[in-house]
Symmetry: C2
Subunit: 342 residues, 2 copies
DNA sequence: GTGAAAGCGCTAACAG
DNA sequence: CTGTTAGCGCTTTCAC
């Protein structure tokens, strides 16, 4: 009834002088409604600014039209990692037009907090599916989600052969390959790879590609891979170590933050980039263009990845036909931090 | 019924051999339940891994236990601004323990997209309230939300005297004050302020504080404030201009990204920081420690701000008693990018 | 073409 | 103390 609260379908119905089921059919585009009725309903709905209650629809349909994401913050991790922002951008591009929402949960690093978050999402039925990022070595999330019956899609490469649906760029190796070849072409022979945390799947993947490409070109890569467990902060230490020994002429970093830290470390040690040392990052965050020298880096199509992941999940939920979103392959963006080997 | 679907309250009731209302009372901690019954119910619920359906509860209570946030991306804005990440961290610290969710909506810069997002949130009844950030000059969001009847809390300073509830640090001016005084103490006399986009309220606020502090110390600040409309990318240009004229010995930047861009610009022009030029940022993003020289910057308690905002909104919704979260005042973090005037 | 009525999973009166 | 029942706002058979 009138006055204060939000209007309901019956308010619209009485204003239009029809039954509630007529209103329902109209808003859901069902057939069996005369044009006259349809218009009266539409007019009434517009006048009342009425839209079906998401909760009521959700209860009825046993579908919330919301997807979930749980992010683990710290320890040591910088809140949420920066690529996250671009990913969400892509995800939302698929969700918003379809009236889906994205429910975010940031959890602490405490044991079990993450699992509890997924459990709650599933048991309370708050979302229809979840998106996963930051694939981990020995990742237990897939098994958990399967157990909970929550549809899930991973952005990235699954650990081992977890049968979890996942999305990846076409030619996922292309960027690193280009990076190494770029370096080789510039005469670099001692190239080091400073990898990220060993707990992340992409760390191993990228390291492997790095070695492969070097191998194909007749170089023994092993001594050049620094098997650390590097965060941005740790990267500085890694660089210092590297520069102390038989000095590489180029370093590839696992991500842009590490590369920026590496840039600073080099500078601090009086090593000029790119004259004495070439540096390559990974991701092409906005940051890469802000530093000096501007960072040569492997660009990832984070937005495309987010979009693709959302589509695949939506498709699994029967919301969308198929999922042919093209994710651009990673590509090397050459800026100022690389140059010829001296 | 058994088998496949999610268990419902009646599954629990029959398993425990009681009525559904008994189960309801138990999970909601109502009185009038014998200990024996309570335990049988709890056991049954645990066995079935049952938790009340969030949707059903929401429909019943006309409360979703979810808060919303709509973020405007671009044009020109870097996806989502970095401080956002810390803010969300703080927000979730209040929401998660209370079973509240955070619904995120990222919208494009197109005219009306933002308003449409709020409208949908309100009309579909997807959230109980919204959190606002990035207070804008002539901000229309408050009026809109008021119109929509959606409770809202702003993180930051409202434009003009919008009566929107908002949260701020205690002593909001302290950080900038400390920054200017730090510079003055080191003999700087020509200090410039490179401000952010004029559309943001904090731009004007910070600029005003900057002038005030300088004025209190007997300096005429006007020529030193660069009235641009600076993004991180634009900051480089601003710095170049500044360094071309009667050169300042120190520059304060509206945020850390701009400061980093400024650092690079200075370096590109052969100006040494901090020897020839001191640089101060704002926010203390993780980035500030990664660059060289490490950035002296005004730290903001973003996590505290997020927490406080969430609490105020939760309080307005009657979910929590009062909202006495203390937000630490901004404070200057002195690192390497500042030094004595030469 | 249209409307009446059942029911999604839950909570809150109200009886017993 | 415990169970029965009426809806919350919507969609969907199923009669008319």
């Amino acid at each position: 009834m009138g006055g204060s609260g939000k209007p309901t379908i019956s308010d619209v119905a009485s204003l239009a002088g029809v039954s509630v089921s007529a209103v329902s059919k109209v808003v859901n585009g069902k057939s069996g409604i005369s044009t006259a009725t349809r218009e009266r309903v539409l007019a009434a709905a517009a006048k009342l600014r009425w839209t079906p209650s998401a909760t009521a629809v959700a209860l009825r349909a046993a579908r919330t039209r919301a997807l979930g994401m749980v992010l683990r913050r710290g320890p040591g991790l910088p809140g949420t990692d920066p690529p996250f922002t671009l990913l969400v951008d892509g995800i939302e591009r698929e969700l918003t037009p379809r009236g889906y929402g994205l429910l975010l949960h940031v959890v602490g690093g405490e044991q079990g907090a993450e699992e509890a978050a997924y459990r709650r999402l599933a048991e309370e039925g708050r979302v229809d599916g979840v998106l996963l990022t930051g694939s981990r070595v020995g990742d237990t999330r897939f098994a958990l989600l399967r157990d909970l019956g929550l549809p899930a899609v991973l952005v990235g490469t699954p650990w081992d052969d977890d049968p979890i649906p996942s999305v990846r760029a076409t030619h996922p190796d292309r960027g690193i390959r280009q990076a190494v070849e770029h370096l080789l072409r510039h005469g670099h022979r001692r190239i080091a790879y400073l990898c990220g945390p060993g707990s992340r799947v992409h760390t191993h993947h990228r390291k492997r590609v790095f070695k492969e490409v070097l191998g194909e070109n007749g170089f023994v890569p092993s001594p050049s891979v620094v098997d650390g467990d590097f965060t941005p902060a740790g990267a500085a230490v890694g660089v210092a170590d590297l520069l102390a020994g038989p000095r590489p002429t180029a370093i590839l970093f696992a991500d842009d933050s590490m590369a920026v830290a590496g840039l600073s470390a080099a500078r601090r040690l009086g090593v000029d980039v790119p004259r004495e040392l070439s540096v390559i990052g990974h991701d092409d965050l906005p940051l890469s263009e802000l530093v000096h020298p501007r960072l040569t880096t492997v660009r990832q199509d984070l937005v495309g990845l987010g979009q693709a992941a959302a589509r695949v999940l939506l498709a699994a939920l029967g919301e969308v036909e198929d999922a042919p979103v093209r994710v651009n392959p990673p590509e090397l963006v050459i800026r100022e931090s690389t140059g010829p080997a001296r």
